[in-house]
Symmetry: C2
Subunit: 596 residues, 2 copies
């Protein structure tokens, strides 16, 4: 239950106690004997080895543990079983899965994840520095270690874009902040002068620059890497992985709720190249997946099932990650002086933890959690993040046209896949000075409503391919912005959905014919719930079901909706300031000059 | 000619220029085309690849460099040859080879070494913080990058022992200081409370703890590692290497003037273990070796000749070292955004650089240096380090015995090998109140004379196995102390040798029958010369020859002499405070109570 990071080394007395156990002058609290140890440093499986633990730390590893074991030492005989290091998720978004950390950990820890590195990009645009520190406070003093990256921050909204240098410095000076979060490559190439000073502040502290180079290749990818970007979790096949590895990038293979890239990427194992710079990461796990599949134990098992050598697979979720973040002196392997974070599994190919040990404590046994994560009390401010000055009216979502004309050419967001959008120019009829998207053509209104910087500021656009035959869906979680994002077939239901979010203090709401059909209250920052995971998973499923009934064609309506505001996924996106074409990063209005 | 380290990233304008070249919007200064590139990240040899360089940095790496090449780009066609990263020496003692840095670099750079990490343990005891910073200043703004570690400092003299916390913090806050220097294991186990706070200050800054675990194994080795020691350059065989690798230690294989361990250690290549944590280091190169053999190019070639796969051997002197010191974002491989530090060699098995490129400049061609290292002017204080208040008298080396007795039992340093000593208890005749070592039994006087803290304070002991039939040898370079160390057959020549050092302001002097037989002036800190390498090599050879003529039985009299004061090598050592048995670290006098 200690603080993450190297600060424990400050406790000289405790370190000396561990040294005394190593020498046999004191006795271990816990010893696991007769195990096969997976040594991630050498890649060996060493039979008949034991680990002795004092407090949070490993005091001894080897085949002669007797001098460390006393009458009060708890001894676990692991004969026939394998000891592996605790698993590390090197890249996730803990604030993007709706769950607050204590609820998340109840289900994340039992399978063997003992360290997490999370982005903080979500609380920053909606709640600023205080929001991020409140979020970081929620991650501290948990049974496992949680580190974070500072938000860069890439946003299509100029109001939300960036992080003040002073704020960044304060965050980077924290021991639990190990880098600068993902900086989307297009933004870096479009506005290097905005990013390079932030990058410098990060690398001069010896911390990492998280990359996000989805789809980039060749000279553009290289130009993006020049200022020191050190990782990427976006490649989706072995070729993209190999290109990045060759360029000195640490590649994170993503297997989570956003994407599952392991199967396609696993071919890299046959390329005959050094895999030391590969990591396994989740990039975020939604409540349903966490319940059904598990966390990093599931990802590592997938890697093994995809044909990775078990030793390599486990290295990719332990030492490789620890080395990447320069944390290998305290975590990532089973060696003296490291935190006692380890799992007893049946064999290296079966990542089913019989025991999960974190910071020297047995925190789970056969999938049953033995400790309780700490529940954090978020500040009143963090719980009051929906600052709309008034209820919205249907008229707030109207599309007035100034000049007297019967048609107008507009830029429409074309939802071509569940996540990718394109710009399409369409001619829109004008009736009574208002655009009237034609019924039956699947042209819906989409609006972004700022809830923080200029509360109530709204931009209304059009979207095709969202499928709703009636009603509206709104979310106060909208990637990289401080917006509420809403898509609807009519202005009344759009206003109704947003107003319901205002009443809830944040949430996702499906609203049709004047009534709430389904909702997820997200009172914390407007992005996180304080509900139990089962209730949340059910609410998420209910949203999915209702949206499907309303005609939504993809699998995950919330993800499709909340990514409409991000600069991470091409091409045409929306924020409270207008439409943004990620190809050039320019903000434009709805009316296009040229004809389709 | 830039400062070492990540500070170059602060130059946003320059970074943007590099990015523009990557994209083809600007043109490279230098391009090496059609090479086979050794990619240390993947372990591949990639044919037909090119590198484009802008300023100090690599802008592009790949098989389509055309867009980066303009009319003013210097193009080197490396068809049929191999491009490898500049070589890194991860552990050396630049102040222990007598040469000042500019003279050293003239011969060290031409073979392909482009980064050095040096200890600063030598200037600290004799000149303190100001001495270390003067030394560090001499390393800055050189054609290659030089990093350093702060001195811990382990000394058998209680006066010299340790480094004030404030001094350490100032050094650790420097960008060119990447860790805390070697902390001998016995000292750490004997006085952990002295070391652990220093270790904490280091690791909390994300910097490394250099280890020195010569001969340690099992539980003692593990106890030493518990507080976070991250490396060791002392193993002398594959078994010692394997034990350390398994314990998570980064192992430095030493091949230099102090020891040559590569041949014995090379068996590790057949152990089937991950070699990512192996490094090749010199641990110090003397003038003669530098002239005859070269520097890291010689070490890497030796590794290849000892059977290491060339890719692995080169990784061990490039990316493995860069990763260990968290410098892999700027050096260690050939990738965009790294410093353009690279060599063109005939093939991966032949480390004979046709071109050496450092910070984007061609600094050597076919073994001929094209740039001049910067000559540093050391401060007057650094040049006045021999603070003896008066000339010494023969009586200063007398061995008076207080009680009236014909014999006395004394502790004698037994020089059992060139470096290892043992304690032997002997009965010594007393004549006229003075001990009289019997002639012909090879019992000589040995004395340590402080030249800084209590100038002139002298302890006189006895040594066996040094072989001198007459005369004396003295050195103001005496490991880990502020002492002048002197061994002699008679008190007069001992005084003469020390007084000559006083006149020279530092040096090594062989003195017999009232006259100087050979000497090396060492005016800088009393440990470094400002003479050219050939003169120095000749002086060193002259000392060796004279000492051999006088009866000295080992190969390197200076090394044997100057290590008499170190805690790094077992067992009985001497300083101005007395004799120290490294087994318990206690300081004792010459008179032993028990009989031999």
């Amino acid at each position: 239950m200690i603080r993450p990071g190297i600060l424990a080394r400050a406790d000289i007395g405790r370190t000396r106690e561990v040294m005394r156990v190593t020498l046999g002058e004191g006795k271990a609290d816990l010893a696991i004997v007769n195990a096969t140890i997976l040594n991630v440093y050498t890649g060996e499986l060493l039979n008949g080895h034991s680990v002795s633990i004092k407090g949070e730390w490993i005091a001894y590893v080897g085949d002669r543990p007797e001098h460390t074991i006393g009458p009060r030492t708890q001894v676990i005989n692991a004969s026939g079983r394998t000891l592996i290091p605790g698993l590390i998720d090197g890249h996730t978004h803990l604030a993007d899965g709706f769950l607050v950390i204590d609820e998340f950990l109840k289900y994340a820890m039992r399978g063997g994840t003992t360290t997490i590195v999370t982005e903080t990009i979500e609380p920053f645009p909606v709640a600023g520095y205080e929001g991020v520190t409140d979020f970081l406070d929620s991650l501290r003093n948990q049974p496992i270690k949680i580190f974070a990256t500072a938000p860069p921050l890439v946003s299509i909204s100029k109001k939300t874009l960036g992080i003040p240098k002073g704020t960044l410095k304060k965050l980077l000076s924290r021991d639990d902040v190990v880098g600068l979060g993902e900086s989307y490559w297009q933004g870096v190439l479009q506005e290097p002068e905005r990013f390079l000073p932030m990058f410098y502040e990060t690398v001069r502290r010896g911390k990492r620059l998280e990359g996000h180079s989805a789809g980039a290749k060749g000279k553009k990818l290289m130009a993006y890497l020049v200022p020191g970007i050190s990782s990427c979790h976006e490649p989706i096949n072995a070729q993209e992985v190999l290109e990045r590895l060759r360029l000195g990038v640490h590649v994170m293979i993503r297997e989570g709720s956003i994407r599952s890239d392991l199967a396609a990427i696993s071919k890299i194992k046959d390329a005959g190249v050094d895999l030391r710079r590969l990591m396994l990461v989740s990039d975020g796990v939604k409540p349903g997946d966490l319940l059904q599949k598990g966390y990093m134990e599931w990802v590592v098992q997938r890697a093994i099932d995809c044909g990775f050598d078990p030793v390599r697979a486990i290295q990719m979720a332990s030492i490789n990650v620890a080395e990447y973040f320069s944390l290998d002196g305290i975590i990532g392997g089973i060696a003296p002086g490291r935190y006692a974070d380890l799992l007893i599994v049946p064999d290296p190919k079966s990542i089913k933890a019989e025991y999960v040990i974190s910071n020297g404590k047995i925190i789970a046994e056969d999938g049953t959690l033995l400790v309780s994560p700490r529940k954090h009390t978020f500040s009143a401010k963090s719980r009051e993040s929906i600052n709309l000055p008034r209820a919205l009216e249907p008229a707030d979502f109207s599309l007035p046209v100034v000049k007297g004309t019967s048609h107008v050419n507009v830029r429409v967001i074309d939802q071509v896949t569940a996540l990718v959008t394109k710009q399409v120019i369409m001619s829109m009829p004008v009736v009574g000075g208002q655009m009237k998207p034609e019924a039956g053509k699947d042209i819906l209104r989409v609006a972004a409503v700022d809830r923080r910087y200029v509360p109530g500021k709204t931009f209304v656009g059009l979207i095709r391919g969202f499928g709703l035959r009636t009603g509206a869906i709104a979310s106060s979680s909208a990637w990289d912005t401080s917006d509420i994002i809403v898509v609807g077939e009519n202005e009344g239901d759009m206003a109704g959905a947003v107003n319901r979010i205002r009443d809830l203090g944040g949430g996702v709401v499906v609203f049709a014919k004047g009534a709430v059909l389904a909702e997820i209250p997200l009172p914390i920052f407007g992005i996180m719930a304080d509900a139990p995971i089962h209730a949340l998973a059910q609410e998420v499923e209910e949203i999915r079901k209702k949206m499907s009934e309303l005609g939504f064609p993809f699998d995950d309506p919330i993800l499709t909706l909340m990514t409409l505001t991000t600069a991470a996924i091409p091409f045409l996106r929306i924020c409270e300031q207008g439409l943004v074409d990620l190809k050039d990063g320019k903000t434009v209005g709805l009316i296009a000059e040229e004809k389709a």
